[in-house]
Symmetry: C2
Subunit: 131 residues, 2 copies
DNA sequence: TATTTGTTATACAACTAATATAACAAATTT
DNA sequence: AAATTTGTTATATTAGTTGTATAACAAATA
């Protein structure tokens, strides 16, 4: 799985790593049970510091997406382990709200926004429906 | 229009102000042509510094949502003035992507995410369809 | 046994967020 | 015309974040 860092971006590097790993899992490029590269090797690949990758991994763990086994490695959680709690659903909705609101105020219609969402789904190659 | 700041939030204050003004416009609580309160008076109301509100207003101007008339005030742009450029559409899609991806990886189905989007639309009281 | 692993600690530079205070000049109100 | 309000600009300070750098530790692995 390829991770590409934009060093000029206003999105922090550790956040870019987190998002791209999430997208990689969504795309199916990485499956539950798979081991993430060690923080040292991924940091070397990306040309960033070890701690930056480590921060990303801990963010992923906090989100309930991976499990870090100390001195061993990071493993992608199974879908069963990822419970999708009401709290998580509320968080997703909270994240969705400002994006949708901004789109609306800028003049996007509900149809346009739904269309964009479908484009995002398609880009992330959902196994359901489309295939 | 009521703006509520969560001082313990990890979302910066100026960003909270920006988002809530956008949501206020989406809800129709503020209409195009309306004048925003002066940076000083809003800052006093919220109990924050003038510069914090000023930063928010300039963010709104950069997004093409308001026009700041120096020494006079900030006015909400009309829908005609808000062009909704392809660049803006791309930005919205870019903002939508990580939120949707995270939801999916956490185990949310496409239906659940679409349902959440409709909840957000309902919460923002879209004049179309629902009413 | 040697290497790799995540962890922890410390330090540093650059940047962001937020506040504080002040002064300026244009716009508005009285 | 005078007083007030306005956004602007400048400077300074405090606190926190981001990212890097280096090092050492102990457990896991080869």
């Amino acid at each position: 799985m390829l991770i590409q860092i934009e060093f000029q971006s206003d999105v922090p590097i550790y956040e870019q790593v987190t998002r791209q790993i999430i997208e990689g899992i969504a795309r199916g490029e990485m499956k539950p049970g798979d081991t993430l590269p060690s923080v040292r090797s991924l940091a070397a690949d990306l040309g960033v510091n070890m701690h930056t990758v480590n921060k990303s991994y801990h963010e992923l763990e906090a989100k309930g997406i991976i499990t870090i086994r100390p001195k061993s490695g990071a493993i992608i959680c199974s879908t069963e382990e990822r419970a999708l709690t009401p709290e998580q659903l509320r968080q997703i909705e909270k994240n969705l709200k400002p994006v949708v609101a901004e789109g609306m105020v800028l003049g996007a219609t509900a149809e346009q926004i739904e269309h964009m969402m479908k484009k995002v789904f398609a880009d992330l190659q959902i196994p359901a429906e489309g295939v």
